[in-house]
């Protein structure tokens, strides 16, 4: 079992829920992302999802689109993100998940990427545009490298499809709380509760819920249902709004602590 699985076990034993935070790597710089990750860990974040910026993020809303553009303008590459992970690993054992689109990985080379990601200390990957139908070409290498391949379940995913997804899942299952892009509308707790219940019946893997969660109240409600809550756009927006301020990291961490408290 990797760092992700162990983290969920540890949290489960303490009756805690996982707080997973998404950051776009390289926004505003890779050095800043590193500092943010280390500070977030101290603020109670259990798993970080590091976004690999892509030119055409079709599953992302305006906040993460803009962050990706800024990161790319700042010269962020997948190679640079892997170096960032290796840097973080020197001082931290926080589980790290890379989140992104397939083309940068494909251009890097699926096999080469998997080895490099493992060496850097990446624990899992979530590739938005690789549904089970197409995931094979990457998974032969990431599975071999012991990297968790985090599967997405959407509100539109039907029963039979869910079965297939669950069968092949590792690490945890990521339930997309809204029919939409990242950071869009506020999710409906009753709907999530029902859908997460369906997934529970099929798997023992932890279930995290993300897309559209932005405040402590939502996080609290969802933590009653799921094993983890993912906060993305809300954090990225705060980083952007406070980028010029010397207390940017403190502001972001204060927000994250507020969410963390809501989970306990």
């Amino acid at each position: 079992m990797g760092r992700i699985g162990k983290k969920f076990e540890e949290l489960r034993a303490n009756k805690e829920k996982a707080l997973i935070v998404y950051l776009t790597a390289g926004d505003p710089s890779l050095a800043a992302t590193r500092e943010l990750v280390l500070s977030l860990e101290k603020s109670g974040v259990n798993i970080v999802e590091i976004g690999v910026p892509f030119s055409d993020p079709t599953a992302d809303g305006p906040v993460i689109q803009a962050a990706s553009q800024r990161a790319l303008k700042a010269g962020t590459t997948l190679r640079g993100v892997l170096e960032l992970v290796a840097e973080i690993r020197r001082t931290s054992q926080i589980p790290i998940l890379l989140f992104g689109y397939f083309n940068p990985i494909f251009a890097y080379g699926a096999e080469k990427f998997s080895q490099a990601a493992k060496d850097a200390g990446v624990d899992g990957i979530l590739v938005v545009d690789l549904p089970p139908e197409e995931a094979g070409e990457l998974r032969i290498f990431t599975d071999a490298a012991g990297i968790d391949f985090i599967a997405l379940v959407a509100p539109t995913t039907g029963r039979d499809r869910l079965k297939t997804i669950v069968q092949d899942a590792t690490g945890f299952l990521y339930y997309i709380s809204i029919t939409g892009v990242t950071g869009a509308a506020a999710p409906k707790v009753e709907d999530i509760s029902r859908e997460v219940g369906k997934i529970r019946k099929m798997t023992k893997l932890p279930i995290a819920v993300g897309f559209g969660i932005s405040c402590a109240d939502q996080a609290r409600a969802i933590a009653r249902i799921a094993d983890g809550v993912v906060i993305g756009s809300a954090v990225v927006r705060r980083i952007d709004e406070n980028r010029a301020n010397s207390d940017c990291i403190q502001t972001v961490c204060a927000y994250v602590r507020e969410i963390k408290e809501a989970l306990s």
């Binding site: 251009a107 545009d129 997309i176």
Partner: protein
């Protein structure tokens, strides 16, 4: 040649369904609904009736006598897709998809558009079938294709300006996909070209294949045989695939797909993804893609908004790799030359997209024998480009 795509939408290594999970159930449902219509005689009859009585098919295959004489080589025929209702081949596909949407009970449709031809064709069928219609279009394209924007609005569609990226076709498609992710339960996405996730490349190809099927019949009638050479422009590649596909087993028929070289293949300002790109994944399929060494998609450029796209349909990628078709390039300047040539020699104002195909025909026809037959797909008419041309000429 095998029958492609395979059941997962792959054309050898190309194609596929690289789509977000939220869309996967909709893509599978679409595939199933489409397969059902293929076995349904009433669908074929309905589709055929609309093509005939509404779109005006079959379109003529016109022997361009003056053009032939001036170039002094092969006998040149123009497949007059510009004479379709709405002014381009795009209606062949939007009629098919709208009929499918209607069978699936969808009352809302969305589409991306570059030149606005697909947007107009979608707005048209939405009006025809009483569907709510949103068209995503890049701001730069809204500027350079204003007449088509007016037409879409007149037809009752909402034109949604897209500001991201270079504000052209790629960005419009990104935004349409994002909107679709949010509205997938009740909205049908009418993709305009042989790209996107499976089943779109196959479905659009099949809807557009009427072009090639008619050409086959028409050349046999006019000349007693198949043409020797087919030429069509390729952005995403729907008019080209529509022309090529019915001839794929005819080994003697040579095919040329013409990509936009923009300001030249030695610059970064072109849209030639087969000639200047590498294999990658964008908009749901694996294909040739303009991209940098880190897998970031590069902005395409062409004077023709409908060719201004950094990818290409996966079946074209397959045809290129297997050698079934050759893919060549034509610059902005050559396309403008062809635009004026056809306007003044034949009295036909071609779309700037189609002018790329005309330009390549002008290069190869003089080297061919007078007994040979060359068919160019004149995919659309050029009224929409009048402003671009006048600005360029006054430059």
């Amino acid at each position: 040649m095998k029958t492609l795509p395979d059941q997962n939408g792959h054309f050898d290594v190309f194609g596929g369904r690289y789509a977000a999970e939220t869309l996967m159930p909709a893509l599978l449902e679409l595939e199933e609904a489409y397969a059902k219509t293929q076995k349904d005689k009433t669908f074929a009859e309905e589709f055929d009736r609309y093509r005939r009585e509404y779109a005006g098919r079959p379109t003529p295959l016109y022997y361009a006598e003056r053009m032939t004489r001036m170039l002094g080589g092969a006998k040149i025929y123009l497949k007059r897709e510009d004479l379709n209702h709405t002014g381009s081949h795009k209606i062949n596909n939007t009629l098919g998809q709208a009929l499918l949407a209607r069978r699936m009970g969808r009352k809302k449709v969305i589409a991306e558009t570059g030149a606005g031809q697909h947007g107009v064709a979608t707005a048209t069928v939405a009006a025809l079938f009483g569907m709510e219609c949103k068209i995503f279009m890049g701001e730069e394209d809204i500027r350079r294709q204003a007449p088509n924007v007016f037409r879409m609005k007149i037809l009752g569609a909402e034109v949604v300006p897209v500001k991201s990226g270079t504000a052209t076709l790629k960005d419009a498609m990104n935004e349409a996909m994002r909107y679709w992710v949010s509205s997938v339960r009740d909205t049908f996405y009418i993709i305009g070209t042989t790209a996107g996730p499976h089943p779109y490349p196959m479905m659009v190809r099949n809807f557009q294949s009427v072009i090639g099927r008619e050409v086959k019949k028409q050349t046999v009638k006019a000349e007693g045989r198949n043409p020797d050479v087919l030429v069509a422009c390729v952005g995403g590649g729907s008019n080209a695939m529509g022309l090529f596909y019915p001839f794929r087993h005819e080994k003697k028929v040579e095919m040329f797909g013409v990509e936009a070289a923009g300001r030249g293949m030695n610059t970064n300002e072109h849209s030639a993804s087969i000639n200047g790109g590498k294999i990658g994944i964008l908009h749901g399929n694996k294909t040739y893609l303009l991209q940098d060494e880190n897998g970031q998609v590069r902005d395409a450029y062409s004077i023709a908004a409908g060719l201004d796209y950094p990818g290409v349909g996966p079946e074209h990628a397959y045809f290129a790799q297997s050698g079934r078709a050759a893919y060549v390039t034509v610059t902005d300047e050559e396309a403008i030359g062809a635009f004026l040539f056809l306007s003044r020699q034949e009295g036909i104002i071609p779309a700037l997209e189609s002018s790329h195909a005309i330009a390549h025909a002008m290069k190869i026809a003089p080297k061919m024998k007078k007994s040979q037959i060359l068919v160019v797909c004149l995919s659309g008419r050029g009224d929409k480009d009048a402003r671009t041309i006048m600005e360029t000429l006054q430059g």
